[in-house]
Each structure stands twice: as C-alpha cells, then as structure tokens.
C-alpha cells in the first residue's frame, strides 16, 4: 500500500503540489489525471522517492521513504517498475540489453535464464523480434513497449506509468492500454497511471485522482466520474471525450467538422 500524506512541493517560486493526500490500495489500478503541468508526474516521482516533498510524507508499506537511508530506499525501489514518459531506454544498448539490464544487476540469474526472461517479457509486450534493435531504430510506441518490458522484468509489486499513451496513435494507445490491463491482471501488481487520456482511464483504471490547481481535487471510482456536480472535473472529462467520440463530438459533427 502507498500512502501520500499532506504533500507539498514547489520548484523555486512555482508551487506544484499542495495538501495532497492519497491512499493507493494493493492490487488496484489508479489513474492520476489532470491538465498538462498540473503536477501529475511530480506526484508520481514522489511515490518512488525520485523527488523529496517539501512537506508531508510518502509511505510505502508503512515505511516513510523520505526518512530512510539511501540504501534502504534503493531496496524499496526494486519493488517498483516505472514506465517513463519517453520510455527512458538506454540508447547505447539494444532492446535486449535494456531489458536484461535490471536482471543482470539485481538477480543472480544465469545468462540462459536472463535470455529466457527477456524473451518472455518481449513476448508479453508483443515485440518478439526487436531484441537486437537499438531504441533509435524503434517507433515511439515500440519504445514504450520495450520500456514496459524492462519495467516488468523484475516482476515488480508496483507499476508506475507516466503518460503511457501520450504521443501515440489511437491504435497503439489501445495496445498499450490492453497491455497495462493484462499486466495488472496477470501479475496482480498495484498500478499508478499518470495520464490525461480519459479513454485510457476508463479502459484500465479502478479509481481516478484528479489534480487541479496544485490540489487533489477529486478522488473516486472511475464509474463515478460522470454525473459529478464538480464543474472543473466535468469540463476536463468532456474536453477529453471530444476525442473519443462522446457528446461534444456530436456538436462538432453538426458544425460540419469530422
């Protein structure tokens, strides 16, 4: 379980997060939503200790990760898999080497076992034949899928996804969403998905947390998002629905737009 308690974060004069409280239950998939620049990725980076709060704390399995020595934090981090926005693949390595990297450093697996595990992860993300290719030879969607394969290589308890579908075409986005759902079900991991793509939210998440004006504005089951009296949340959701074909799209069609 991950708990965020009264978290504040600023960068210089720019306040990013204020009074953020959030509990993430084991096994659930929670989507952190909000406009670009609302602090979603900043909040996610706090969950794995990549950023330190100015005030407040983050607890992973009741351990305050801001208070423990760096060596203990590193052990806790090994329970996490993180998919970064651009993939963050090591560009000097091939896809195979990227996925094998955490296995080589954090396990005592033999070379054969590592090779098998890498192929297993590549199969899981449906990219069996890209092992020898470097990240520069892959498309954006493929890079994210290889990064996903690397993130799950150590079978983490927690998966953090930073904008997993941003910049991808709808079909590739759907593939990524399917993979996230599949991984959550098959590996029973706790997933935190940072996104502003409501289509993804409805596809993969159990709950959503809406960040607005530095605060956690709304938290609840995704099924409750529609019909909320909250105007800010409603406006955000509807702005997204335009893209996936709900009410506003009809208006656009009436205006003669595709």
């Amino acid at each position: 379980m991950i708990q965020v308690e009264n978290l504040y974060k600023s960068f210089g004069d720019l306040e990013v997060l204020k009074e953020v409280d959030l509990e993430i239950e084991d096994g659930e998939t929670i989507a952190i939503i909000g406009r670009s620049g609302s602090g979603k990725s900043v909040l996610m980076k706090h969950l794995v200790g990549l950023l330190k709060p100015d005030q407040g704390r983050v607890l992973v399995d009741d351990v305050d990760i801001g208070e423990i020595p760096y060596e203990e934090l590193r052990e806790i981090r090994q329970q996490f898999g993180v998919l970064f926005q651009g993939g963050a693949l090591f560009d000097s390595m091939t896809s195979f080497e990227n996925i094998a990297f955490p296995l080589e450093y954090f396990t005592t697996m033999s070379d054969d076992a590592i090779r098998d595990r890498v192929h297993e992860c590549l199969d899981l993300v449906r990219l069996s034949d890209v092992g020898p290719k470097k990240p520069s030879e892959l498309s954006g969607g493929m890079r994210k899928r290889v990064a996903l394969a690397r993130a799950i290589a150590l079978e983490p308890r927690y998966m953090l996804y930073d904008e997993p579908t941003s910049g991808l075409d709808p079909e590739t986005s759907n593939t990524i969403d399917e993979l996230i759902s599949q991984l959550s079900e098959e590996l029973s991991v706790t997933s935190v998905v940072v996104t502003h793509d409501m289509h993804s939210v409805f596809s993969i998440a159990d709950r959503a947390a809406f960040l607005h004006n530095c605060h956690l504005h709304w938290v609840g089951p995704v099924n409750d998002i529609h019909g909320q009296p909250d105007e800010t949340l409603d406006r955000f959701v509807k702005a997204n629905e335009y893209h996936v074909g709900d009410p506003l799209r009809a208006t656009a069609t009436q205006r003669g737009q595709p």
Binding site: R74, F90, Y105, L154
Partner: protein
C-alpha cells in the same frame, strides 16, 4: 497607503540577488564535493562498474591517442625549430636545444596540450552523454530501478580519466620528443645524437614524475567537472548544449589554475 518614494532604490539595493550570486560558487563547490563523495563511497559490487570502466578507459584513453599523438608530434617539432632559431649562435652548443625541448615537453607541454585537447574531446563528450541521459530521464530510470546512478555513472568515468591521462601523457612525451628529433634531423640543424645528449645532460628524474602528477590531476579535473555538469543538466537540448560548453571551458580554466598551483608548490 502611499508607495514609499524610495521603493525603487530599495528594490535595486535588494541584498538577496547579490547574496545569491556571491554564494553561488560555494553552493556549486559543495554540490560538486558531495557528488564526488557519493560517487566514491556508496559502492556496489565491483561487477557493477567493471564493464563500464573498461568502456570508458577505451573511450577516454585509446580513442584519444591519435589526436593526442598528432598534437604532441607537432608541438615537439615546432618547439625544436623555434628553440633552434632563438639559440642560433656559435657560442651555444646544439645540445642545448635538447636540454630545453625535452624538459619543456615533460614538465609542461605534454600534460597541458593533452589536457586541453581532452577537455574538449572527453569533457564535452561526458557532459553531453550524461546531460542527455538526464533530460531523457535515463538517470531517473537508473535510480527508479534501485541503482545508485551517481556511482554507476561517475565512478567509472573519473577512474578511467585518472588511469588513462597519465598513459596519454607518457605517449605525448615520447611522441613529442620524437617529433623534435625528427624535425632536427630532417632540417639538418640538429642530429639525433646531439638532441639526446642535450636531453641527458640536464635530465632530472623529478621532471617526468611531476608531469605524471599533472596529468593525473588534469584527468581528475576534466572527468569530474564534466560529470558534474552533465549529471546536473536541466532544460532539454539547450541545457545539454550549455553543460557541454561549460564542461569544456571550465575544465580548461581549472587546468590552467592547477598547472600554476602545482608549479608553485612542487617545483
């Protein structure tokens, strides 16, 4: 409430920005020392660094050999010609040219030329590499996996620098002296025997040792400054460009300062 008539002056005299500017070098120095301390103290198993260390030794040392050799050969040759030109009199024996050129190469030129060339070649490369890793979140990815990114990235690069720079210095010395011998013989104004006799006449065993201390120091300066600049890069492609430039320029400045300090304290 009326605005204070002196408010503009007060704003101009606001001590905070000035204080920030005055303290900035100390903040940078503190962060640099902390970074290196963490790189060399919080260590994992040797196998974590070994592969990276070998790669960096090849990139910093072996790959830099051609340009170092070229610069050293030309420097040795030019120094020999110019020294011969300045001492063109029948009262001074030709062997003096070797007595001047060889210690100059050992004490100063080999180390400083190698340092300047590698500040551009190696320092800029390290800063650009780490800077790109920073802005593309590859360093965050290493940390999120549970790896100590500082020791993983910085330790092999700095170690490779302090191991390979002395090797390059020795190569630069030999090739530079070789360049001097060759140009003297080819130009017909100094035989190889005269050159070597002159070099032997005033040779001090401390000279190459002093050069090795310099090259070791310069290797540390170039790699550590570049690692610092690259690791703390921010601001995307522009930030990477800034870090790369700053790494090369500041390394050169620190080489000059270290050169003077070592000469004053050790000679």
């Amino acid at each position: 409430m009326h605005a204070c008539p002196f408010s503009r002056d007060l704003t101009l005299n606001d001590p905070r920005p000035v204080a920030d500017r005055l303290l900035a070098p100390f903040y940078t120095l503190g962060r640099y020392i902390l970074l290196l301390t963490r790189a060399f103290t919080s260590l994992d198993e040797v196998r974590t660094y070994w592969g990276n260390l070998v790669t960096q030794m090849v990139r910093i040392g072996i790959d830099s050999l051609p340009i170092t050799a070229l610069a050293a050969a030309f420097s040795g040759a030019v120094l020999t010609v110019q020294t011969a030109y300045q001492l063109e009199t029948s009262f001074i024996p030709n062997t003096i040219i070797g007595s001047i050129v060889v210690p100059s190469m050992m004490l100063e030129l080999a180390a400083v030329i190698t340092g300047f060339i590698l500040a551009g070649r190696v320092g800029a490369r390290i800063a650009a590499e780490l800077g790109t890793m920073r802005v593309s979140e590859q360093i965050d990815a290493l940390e999120a996996m549970g790896l100590n990114s500082i020791s993983f990235l910085i330790l092999p690069r700095v170690l490779a620098g302090i191991i390979m720079f002395p090797v390059l210095y020795v190569a630069a010395c030999l090739i530079g002296i070789g360049g001097g011998v060759l140009i003297g013989s080819a130009g017909g104004f100094l035989s190889a025997q005269e050159f070597i006799d002159g070099a032997r006449q005033f040779f001090k065993p401390f000279d190459p040792f002093f050069g090795l201390i310099k090259s070791f120091t310069f290797g540390f300066i170039i790699t550590s400054v570049a690692c610092y600049k690259g690791y703390y890069t921010s601001g995307g492609a522009e930030g990477v460009g800034d870090s790369t430039t700053e790494a090369a320029v500041q390394s050169c400045v620190f080489i000059l300062i270290a050169d003077l300090l070592l000469a004053v304290t050790l000679l």
